[in-house]
């Protein structure tokens, strides 16, 4: 199956128009010695054959475990209207809306997405999306480095370790100083944050699900003329003090929770919002509202002079394709949930997590690590290696959580448990009973 409409007859006619005798002649500009001997990819398959093969592969994945694994990526319910809308060919088979007049659908939806992100974060401006939360954090850090002209990045180690390792990878060649700090209050950072600091990076709720007020950290950043970067789980922002209220200059994070399937790691959605004063330093695409010659409202890409296709090596970022369709998903999802709905959803997650906390900590030997408050995720310590406990629970149909030892070698027995609205009381019960049984 090759999706090529032209027939042999079409090709004959076209070659004749070109004065060629064979398809091979089309490649005359490739010197003979540079030609390859061929491809070895197997025979073509029909749609039915590939479909069966993929259905077989899908069946090998245990996607039906009751999922208490979060760690920044959550198993939320996705209303059916989301997929129904983003599956419209006009949306997903378009590209970047370079031709505004025939792309008002994409452009207006970007503008609406930006608006929703601004309202959720309280910030002054949002871009059209970045790849994911981790690359978003790198972009945010680089924005801070560029804007402050300084080179030191102070990151709390309660920031998602998946992002911290990414940040390390990206910055290794850039002669930056990356400091990861364990702090239980802003005071603990006093020595570390100084006038060389470009940014202070704080996640809240943090990787361990803890809710706290980040304002003191951001105040410390500000005192040192460093930028305050907040990494936030968007669902929590429906409820929590906004990064803007807390004094953040930049907010980034992963918005997978806003209607995107887990899909084994992607595509996801990096969001970024900044204070108004950093708009022109922001990476990525941006849509703006404007008018046509008749004064009719329309939308177009704007601030393109920041971007690589205009500024090349001087651009604010190298990003070109982003996660537009994922941003549309998030927008449709936020529209469906609405002002009240998203807040209530956050509360529902918290209530279920509280119940799970209650059930799990009632098990002898299981302790809460933190004292709270929490959002929808929390750490417990087990009387054995958490990896072993989790692996034993798989047979009970449970993905019981994320064993923290992988990123925190000093926490081998700690388990991070996430509870979304999808987890029922019954499943929480099975988890509690199962965990008790395998200890």
């Amino acid at each position: 199956m090759d999706f090529i409409p032209n027939t042999d007859r079409d090709r004959e006619l076209m070659l004749a128009d070109l004065g060629l005798r064979s398809m091979e002649e089309l490649f005359d500009s490739i010197p003979a010695e540079l030609r390859t001997s061929g491809l070895d990819l197997g025979d073509p398959l029909s749609e039915m054959e590939v479909t069966n093969h993929l259905a077989h592969l899908a069946g090998l994945n245990a996607a039906d475990l009751a999922c208490f694994t979060g760690a920044g990526f959550y198993d939320h319910f996705i209303p059916a209207a989301v997929d129904a809308l983003i599956s419209r060919g006009e949306f997903y088979t378009a590209y970047t809306p370079y031709q505004a007049e025939m792309s008002q659908g994409t452009l207006q939806s970007i503008y609406e997405y930006q608006t929703a992100i601004c309202r959720l974060t309280g910030m002054g401006a949002s871009n059209a999306s970045l790849y994911d939360g981790g690359t978003g954090l790198f972009e945010a850090a680089m924005l801070a480095v560029r804007k402050t002209g300084k080179k030191k990045l102070v990151v709390l180690n309660s920031v998602n370790p998946i992002y911290r390792v990414m940040l390390r990878s990206y910055t290794v060649n850039l002669s930056l100083e990356l400091v990861e700090a364990d702090a239980s209050s802003a005071d603990d950072l006093k020595g570390l944050v100084d006038d060389k600091t470009a940014a202070v990076i704080v996640q809240y709720p943090d990787f361990f699900g803890r809710v706290f007020d980040p304002e003191p950290y951001f105040a410390l950043a500000s005192e040192n003329k460093a930028l305050a970067i907040a990494v936030c789980y968007p669902l929590a922002l429906a409820l929590l003090k906004t990064p803007a209220e807390a004094g953040a200059d930049i907010v980034v994070g992963e918005a997978q929770c806003l209607g995107l399937p887990l899909s084994f790691g992607g595509p996801y959605l990096g969001y970024m919002a900044v204070s108004k004063k950093f708009i022109r330093a922001m990476p990525g695409r941006v849509a703006g509202k404007t008018v046509d010659h008749d004064g009719k409202v329309g939308y177009c890409l704007t601030l393109q002079t920041r971007e690589q296709h205009i500024r090349r090596e001087k651009a604010t970022s190298n990003i070109c394709s982003n996660e537009a369709l994922c941003a549309l998903i998030a927008l449709v999802y936020m529209s469906l949930m609405g002002k009240e709905g998203l807040r209530e959803l956050a509360e529902l997650n918290m209530a279920k997590a509280a119940y799970a906390r209650e059930r799990l900590t009632a098990i002898p030997g299981v302790e809460l690590v933190d004292k709270g408050p929490w959002f929808n995720e929390f750490r417990i310590s087990l009387p054995l290696d958490a990896r072993i406990a989790v692996s034993r629970l798989i047979d009970k149909g449970l993905a019981a959580g994320f064993p923290l030892g992988r990123y925190y070698p000093d926490q081998p027995n700690n388990l991070l448990v996430a509870v979304t609205e999808k987890r029922t009381k019954e499943e929480i019960g099975i988890l509690a009973e199962g965990l008790e049984a395998v200890l």
Partner: protein
């Protein structure tokens, strides 16, 4: 159309939440102290499901995609996106799979199907490009470029090389210099001659400060650089690495392999060559392949096949550049590309290249009598025309041509890129278009050429058949409005 925020009505609801099935006391226990809460609720739209469905259905109707018609946006390979790959990516066994599962103890067995997709796609892409191994992690082409340059840096660091610059031809896509810069390199631009990077100029600029050379071949003008072997040899002579921007791979699949042309690092755009949809700007996927001597530097995690045929994640690569994505890349996109490659097979992909090149040359010849071509010689998968003569004679710019094409029912070509052709109209028809479609495009372009001569004013007024006319982009950038604010 009014925005979703403007049709919001206080108290209106879109989705109902599941009931609280745990004791009310849990809800109370979860409550947060007031000082941790936001002062005002986030003013998200308050709309019903019917409102949302109508709003986005109608917005989509103001959009143009490949499913609507011909979309010859040069360099972007807007080929038809087969529907069966969309369905496959929505199978619950893939869409519902948490990426951390295989990182659990014994967890690899929970995701064998997904790991096989990653592993096999790596193998297929390696075969197509002549590379030794791919990382599937980069989430778009530019992300692949950055990854590739990070691999270069790791290689040079490992060898103790101190190198500071990257050479890039003048016809390069903006992401190439931008990626090199983001990775910490200086960018030096190499001029073209006869449309392709001039090997002599290149050699004169090459020194041992050069860490690497970023090229695409065929390049953005649609021409194959026949000096590529010479260029690669020279680069390798100073231990610079050759980087292949795979955005144009569609032209040569089955005919030439970047690895055999002397390239060391390749990124591919699955959302171009391998028919995954562009999504209105993304998500894409930009896997990066390397030759054998660079394998050690590839990002972790990596998917390996065990002796018993099962798949596992592996992290033990001390020279690795580390983690560049949270997990394994844009899996949902990779899956579609995998399905596409399996469907086409060796034969199909070669046919893709041949038909892409045929279609581009057909347009080159058919449009050639009315439109000035950038480089008057056979092209590969795309062809660049110039509206320079039309500007000079009739005041009709590439932009005017683009807008007139909209009224003809076509998506315009890429305009004003590549920079090396003035008033560029960069046309990439792809292989998924039929002769009939190309002929109707040629006819439309002829009508526009006629109008340029007879009634240029009418072209300045285009497009007329769209929901909005030409927009005030200057005003948009000057008086920024990026976010809807209710009137007071």
């Amino acid at each position: 159309m009014r925005s979703i925020f403007e049709i919001s009505v206080p108290g209106r609801r879109g989705v109902e939440l599941p009931r609280l099935d745990v004791p009310q006391s849990a809800a109370q226990a979860a409550e947060l102290p007031a000082e941790l809460l936001r002062k005002e609720p986030a003013a998200l739209p308050e709309v019903a499901e019917v409102d949302v469905v109508r709003h986005y259905t109608n917005l989509s109707r103001m959009n143009f995609g490949v499913d609507v018609g011909f979309y010859p946006l040069g360099s972007c390979t807007m080929k038809y996106n087969p529907k069966f790959t969309e369905a496959a990516s929505r199978l619950p066994g893939f869409a519902g799979l948490h990426p951390l599962l295989p990182q659990l103890r014994r967890g690899g067995m929970l995701a064998q199907g997904a790991l096989e997709v990653l592993y096999e796609t790596d193998r297929l892409l390696s075969e197509i490009t002549g590379m030794a191994e791919f990382t599937m992690q980069p989430m778009a082409g530019a992300h692949g470029e950055l990854t590739g340059i990070m691999l270069m840096a790791a290689y040079h660091r490992d060898k103790g090389n101190r190198k500071t610059t990257i050479l890039v031809p003048d016809s390069a896509h903006g992401t190439n210099p931008a990626s090199a810069a983001v990775a910490g390199y200086q960018v030096v631009t190499v001029p073209s001659k006869d449309g392709v990077m001039d090997p002599e100029a290149f050699e004169s600029m090459l020194d041992d400060q050069v860490a690497g050379v970023m090229m695409t071949n065929p390049n953005t003008v649609g021409l194959f650089n026949p000096y590529i072997k010479r260029i690669a040899d020279a680069a390798h002579g100073v231990d610079a690495l050759m980087y292949y921007d795979g955005a144009n791979l569609n032209a040569i699949m089955g005919y030439a392999k970047p690895g055999e042309l002397g390239f060391d690092i390749v990124h591919l755009n699955l959302h171009k060559t391998f028919a995954t949809p562009h999504g209105g700007g993304g998500p894409g996927s930009g896997p990066v392949g390397v030759v054998d001597r660079l394998r050690d530097f590839l990002p972790v995690s990596r998917v390996v096949q065990r002796d018993d045929g099962t798949y596992a994640l592996s992290y033990d690569y001390p020279k690795s550049i580390g983690y560049i994505a949270p997990f394994y890349g844009n899996f949902g996109v990779i899956l579609k590309a995998y399905a596409y490659i399996k469907a086409l097979g060796s034969e199909g992909l070669k046919k893709v290249a041949a038909n892409a090149v045929l279609n581009a040359n057909y347009l080159r010849v058919k449009l050639g009598d009315r439109w000035q071509v950038g480089h008057d010689k056979p092209c590969m998968h795309e062809v660049v025309f110039s509206a320079k003569d039309k500007v000079e004679k009739y005041g009709i710019s590439a932009l005017d041509v683009a807008k007139a094409l909209i009224d003809e029912g076509f998506h315009p070509p890429t305009v004003y890129f590549p920079l090396v052709v003035p008033e560029a109209l960069m046309i990439e028809p792809t292989e998924t278009e039929s002769k009939e479609t190309l002929d109707s495009f040629v006819a439309a372009m002829a009508r526009i050429a006629d109008k340029a001569e007879s009634d240029p004013e009418s072209l300045h007024a285009s497009p007329c058949l769209t929901p909005v006319g030409r927009l005030d982009e200057v005003g948009a950038a000057r008086k920024l409005d990026l976010c809807y604010v209710e009137e007071a």
